[in-house]
């Protein structure tokens, strides 16, 4: 995974909606596709395009904001389904950071596993950022080391779970770390098989 330290003057888009669930981030019908071709075109598909395929004028599709790297939304972004495809759609579109007052739990951990930063700000700061972006501001810098968003006259601080921050800063993948504990896992599993004999599926099937 690519480390994320600082996004410098990234194109930023407002998404002034609460409860943008993962069904909206990527509608289910697109999830049959393998990842290779990229999921960016499916991002927020039904909010962006009408049934006839015409763009509905979301700021994401404003040519002046092409290549957005940062989205700012209202509370409970990414609630609902565990589909990691929602994160693929954001990442493949080019988004590296979503700023919101709160995130769905599963979405947030999926995000971090794909190098996407879920930056939590206060409701008031989210509103200030959205207002500025709607008012014409089109770039924000996100500094993960300082946990700070720059672009307004005063920087806005955000929070992110410290473990996730370390992971994002270093581009770490859990799997390599876990495999380094292989012996501990094996020893634990052997002892546990004695402790909880009932935990294995019954072999009568």
């Amino acid at each position: 995974m690519e480390p994320l330290r600082r996004l410098d003057r990234a194109v930023a888009c407002p998404l002034p909606l609460a409860n943008v669930d993962t069904d909206q981030i990527i509608p289910a019908r697109f999830m049959k596709q393998p990842r290779q071709a990229g999921y960016g075109g499916f991002l927020l598909h039904d909010l962006r395009f009408g049934p006839d395929g015409a763009a509905l004028g979301l700021s994401l599709d404003d040519p002046a904001r092409a290549g957005a790297g940062v989205l700012v939304a209202r509370r409970n972004f990414g609630g609902g389904s565990s589909r990691e495809a929602a994160v693929y759609a954001l990442v493949d579109f080019g988004v590296r950071c979503v700023v919101a007052p709160s995130f769905g739990d599963i979405f947030a951990s999926n995000a971090v596993n794909n190098g996407l930063l879920p930056a939590v700000v206060s409701e008031a700061d989210a509103e200030r950022l959205i207002a500025a972006l709607e008012g014409g501001l089109d770039r924000l810098s996100v500094d993960l080391e300082a946990c700070r968003i720059e672009g307004l006259p005063e920087p806005v601080s955000f929070s992110v779970d410290p473990v996730w921050r370390t992971k994002l800063l270093n581009g770490w993948d859990d799997l390599d770390l876990t495999l380094s504990h292989a012996d501990a896992i094996r020893a634990w599993a052997e002892a546990d098989a004695e402790r909880r004999r009932w935990a294995r599926p019954s072999s009568s099937c």
């Binding site: 909606l17 609460a18 409860n19 669930d21 069904d23 909206q24 509608p27 289910a28 019908r29 999830m31 049959k32 393998p34 990842r35 039904d46 049934p51 209202r74 509370r75 409970n76 609630g79 609902g80 389904s81 565990s82 589909r83 990691e84 495809a85 994160v87 693929y88 709160s102 769905g104 739990d105 599963i106 951990s109 999926n110 596993n113 794909n114 409701e123 779970d161 410290p162 473990v163 370390t166 859990d174 799997l175 770390l177 876990t178 495999l179 504990h181 501990a184 896992i185 634990w188 599993a189 546990d192 909880r196 004999r197 009932w198 935990a199 294995r200 599926p201 019954s202 009568s204 099937c205």
Partner: protein, 467 residues
């Protein structure tokens, strides 16, 4: 230190805890489905194998057709999804409850039904409604594809311990009110993100009195209030359900396990980070009016007026939801006409749910078309033995095979744009049942009542003398 149920489950699965507080936990059961193809692709790219195929089970549910099962699947994309699961599970020696298996069904119905889900286990699946399995006193939660790949490779997962929350319902529920109504009521009170970061334990006499089916419905909906997992402490109801299940321990082994399971109940003086309580008699049959499960109200209420909601964010949400749902402020909920009914999904398609819907529909005719899709092929068979299928068919509804079906529409069972459904599912999100679809969530009895009336309706008068 006194411990709650989740503390005990956590302690029993913690392999090691890092300095930063992340704990590596052992996973006892891992369910995969058609949507797990991203994770299998990751395994392939690393050249990795499934570490514990004996603890991994595949279920075909998300994309399976609910009609014409005998022939090949006509839609190529859908067929590919089902075939891919067969290939991936076959390649890694994982048992699959596939399309042709008489035990096939929705993963969250099959796991409990087969006795694969047991108290005291950690259960994960790449599906957010894995919270369902917590009904047995298991630590069960949904995960994303990267985490699925991690579990497949290592049978473990890095997790941060969740905060503890208890939702208690004390005193009896009134007749015609059930687990779905409890869930929609608490989610409406706390909001769709009300339980974020928390493991929920459901308690109180009304919860204890619920059957396993009811507890499964309640835990299923935990995620809709933002909780990643929900659970009920194991008791005699749990044990009675599990005795004789195919994959559960048998005979003496069962009785020994039962001792361990009953000991999982939280200590009387254990503290929770957050407590919420309800009285059983303040819960009414509840339906949703908006675009997330927190937009719910008792059936005798009216559509809310955004102008009278003080919080600007909530008012904006309500305005947007009413526009999408094509509803007027102040309109009585019972007046909302529907086009279609769907009785199914991992939330409400177990045998008890079908019985409740049939109790309303017996001898009556549905005014709108609809689908009844049982939670598993075994539930389907049992319902047919009880004659419930005839009640549905005589009422004019379609009795189809088991799968996720119109809950998510991945198999092609969809509403048309603008159509409105009374649905026993779990998500009334925009477009969930198809682009432009409008979904009202409710219990099986309430969905059946809506089918009979042609509009949202109180099931209680229709159930009089029938319960």
């Amino acid at each position: 230190m006194p411990r709650t149920l989740v503390d005990k489950l956590w302690d029993q699965h913690a392999i090691l805890t890092r300095e930063d507080g992340e704990t590596l936990i052992w996973i006892d059961r891992h369910f995969v489905h058609e949507g797990s193809h991203h994770a299998f692709a990751k395994l392939k790219s690393r050249g990795a194998r499934v570490a514990r195929p004996d603890l991994t089970f595949g279920v075909a549910d998300h994309y399976v057709p609910t009609r014409g099962r005998a022939g090949p699947i006509p839609d190529e994309g859908v067929r590919r999804m089902v075939e891919q699961l067969t290939e991936n599970t076959g390649l890694h020696g994982v048992h699959l409850f596939g399309l042709d298996d008489p035990r096939q069904g929705i993963v969250h119905v099959v796991g409990p039904e087969q006795g694969l889900t047991l108290p005291g286990l950690t259960v994960v699946c790449g599906d957010s409604h894995t919270s369902t399995h917590g009904a047995f006193g298991a630590l069960a939660f949904g995960i994303g594809a990267s985490e699925v790949a991690h579990v497949l490779t290592t049978q473990t997962l890095w997790q941060r311990k969740p905060k503890r929350m208890r939702i208690s319902v004390e005193g009896p529920l009134t007749p015609g009110v059930g687990a779905k109504d409890i869930a929609l009521t608490w989610i409406a009170r706390l909001g769709a993100d009300g339980a974020q970061g928390h493991a929920i334990e459901y308690a109180g006499s009304a919860v204890r009195a619920l059957s396993m089916e009811g507890r499964l419905t309640l835990c299923n909906l935990s995620i809709e209030g933002g909780g990643r997992c929900g659970m009920v402490a194991p008791d005699e109801t749990t044990l009675a359900y599990l005795r004789g299940r195919p994959y559960a321990p048998a005979g003496e082994a069962f009785e020994r396990a039962a001792g361990d399971w009953l000991a999982l109940a939280g200590d009387a003086d254990a503290a929770f980070d957050r407590e919420v309580s309800f009285r059983g008699d303040e819960i009414a049959p509840t339906v949703t009016w908006g675009t997330n499960p927190g937009d719910a109200l008792p059936i005798d209420a009216a559509v809310p007026d955004p102008e009278r909601i003080a919080d600007p964010g909530r008012a904006a949400h309500a305005r947007d939801a009413l526009a999408y749902m094509d509803l007027r402020p102040g309109q009585p909920l019972t007046g909302i006409r529907i086009d279609r009914v769907f009785i199914g999904s991992c939330t409400n398609a177990r045998i008890e749910d079908l019985r409740a819907a049939a109790a309303v529909l017996a001898g009556r005719t549905a005014r709108v078309p609809g689908l009844v899709s049982p939670g598993s092929s075994l539930v389907k068979r049992q319902a047919e033995e009880e004659g419930l299928d005839r009640i549905f068919v005589e009422a004019g509804l379609d009795w189809v095979e088991s799968g996720c079906s119109m809950c998510v529409g991945m198999n092609g069972d969809l509403l048309k744009p603008g159509e409105r459904s009374a649905s026993t599912t779990n998500r009334n999100f925009k477009g969930r049942q198809g682009p432009g679809s409008r979904t009202h969530l409710m219990s099986p009895a309430m969905a059946a009542a809506a089918a009979v009336a042609g509009h949202l309706a109180d099931a209680r008068p229709m159930l009089a003398g029938r319960l």
